[in-house]
Symmetry: C2
Subunit: 326 residues, 2 copies
Amino acid sequence: MPQRKRATIREVAQATGLSTAAVSYALRGLQVSEETMHRVRRAAAELGYEADPNARALASGRTGMIGVLCGSLEDLWQQSLAVGIGRSLREKDHYGLILDAAGDPDRERTLARQLRGVDGLIVQPVDPAAPFWAGIAENIPLVTIGDALKEARTAAEVVFDNQSGVTLALEYLAGRGHRRVAVLTPTLAETPDRPADRLVTAEAARLGLEVSVQTCPQGLGPAAEAARAVLRDRPSAVFCFSDSIAYGVLKAAGDLGLSVPGDVSVMGYDDHPMSELLGLTTVSWDLEGIVRSAVRLVLGAADGTLRRRRVVQKPTLRERGSVGQR
Amino acid sequence: MPQRKRATIREVAQATGLSTAAVSYALRGLQVSEETMHRVRRAAAELGYEADPNARALASGRTGMIGVLCGSLEDLWQQSLAVGIGRSLREKDHYGLILDAAGDPDRERTLARQLRGVDGLIVQPVDPAAPFWAGIAENIPLVTIGDALKEARTAAEVVFDNQSGVTLALEYLAGRGHRRVAVLTPTLAETPDRPADRLVTAEAARLGLEVSVQTCPQGLGPAAEAARAVLRDRPSAVFCFSDSIAYGVLKAAGDLGLSVPGDVSVMGYDDHPMSELLGLTTVSWDLEGIVRSAVRLVLGAADGTLRRRRVVQKPTLRERGSVGQR
DNA sequence: CATATGGGGTGAAACGGTTCACTGAAGCGA
DNA sequence: TCGCTTCAGTGAACCGTTTCACCCCATATG
């Protein structure tokens, strides 16, 4: 690797006969006269100069990098979310460093702890009650997506109104005559007391539904395998806590020769683009809005110009035909 | 934001009564005795010390960061690829910085140029013939995925044998009696002379197929819209140069009340997990293998221990039922 | 016993920017 | 003309690591 040396700011300074300070200012459009600014910029372009982000980060304390810690990128909807956030950050001259907790609180903790040198953090927490968050949130502007943290004061939060989401889904199922409903929630190894479980149980009790809650992986293959077992009990409907899981259920139903919604109804959660194609009835969130909010909040927190600190997202029910009348 | 100051290496040095050099070595398991190593590690843990990656990068010249420049993250398969690469890099103690050229050569150029402070680059080039690559590949260990670069000597390449892929697809279609085939390739604004086009045209001529090649966006909605127009001409089959496009075609077919494969056959390219669920017949690549190769190659190139420089990926045809006999 | 050997550790110079405190000159009102 | 402000630009400290060139001392070697 020859690794031809890149131009440094000193060389630009030399080429223009200015100090490095002047060059630094000029390139950022600060403090200097129009004329020198152009002179410097031209010289920089000629030399092919681009500032070393590491040196810049060390000196200025800001990296232009935002950590994006996802709950589980196995889930297609979260992939879309991460990609959306990355794109949106790029539009505001930042980079998104996408990280995957893979549904594992330990991994989440390790990643969050190790992460330094970012200006801010967008987290979709796997374990919102974990105590270690406090230490992180104190050091880095942190914005949550989904559940808010329990033990830490974060800079801001984009909260999903899961209560409404669950109510929407279960009321719809109940209204169409379903009584025995299987519920599949994402696998979160070792997270004691998943909040989703409680929501579902409470709501089901209210509606007189007989639910059985189980965890399920998010990959299509594994999810389908888990779903096959569930479908053998012949629930009248399956409520999946992510569209990715619902896709697994659809796969399993197909494999078992069950028709949807004839033999079994399937309700999703999230509304990934593919759900439209598959005709999956699902609880829908405004992905674009979530992305916009999260990015605005984290950048605001990073430079101290934060307005609102809490945005609540309301879900809607997208009726498509995977849930039948019973 | 109080931003409580994080511990520096100097504080750890003070706490242990050693020099910063000793601490630096100790934390990386170099040069020091077992005993001091433990002492330092304990002290570091107590102080909650984590090295500042920027300072480390500036001093050592390596960041532990690999740029992952994707052709278009609109495409679900490329999303999977990016996520896979990110995960694989993380397993080898590196971070993947995922960037999206969004199918636009200009964007690609800008991103590639601006990118500094990474130890290596994995690129799925939008415009492999662009001349600017030479300047980049000369400065950063660069590994391509898909098409190899034309005008630049890269560190290594993972090449897709698209010739075989196209042959596989078109021969299959021809063998099942299709003659009028519409071809949809991803939109690449302004890329003159897309290699895919030539492959298809040549192969179609050989097989006596009547093809019409058109570009198409990758998002489900836009792709479906583009597909509707194509389907009005009633080709007997549509060959899509990415599964995402195929999903759009399936959507359009559904909207128009056309059955697949009854009224129209659809052939995909890539083999995204969802294609199994949708029963899409497609040209399949070994995603895991691609990820492994790319990561191994780029890390090898970054630390100079590179063995093979070129890995060729062969496709297989995954027959699922979206292509009928004509 | 004098001399190589080498493990364990130190001090200080990088790395490539940003920013603070300051200066000289020009502009301006009184 | 004088003092005051503003503008454009400078020099050097600083950011937090890594790493190079040494040094010291204990042990093995001839």
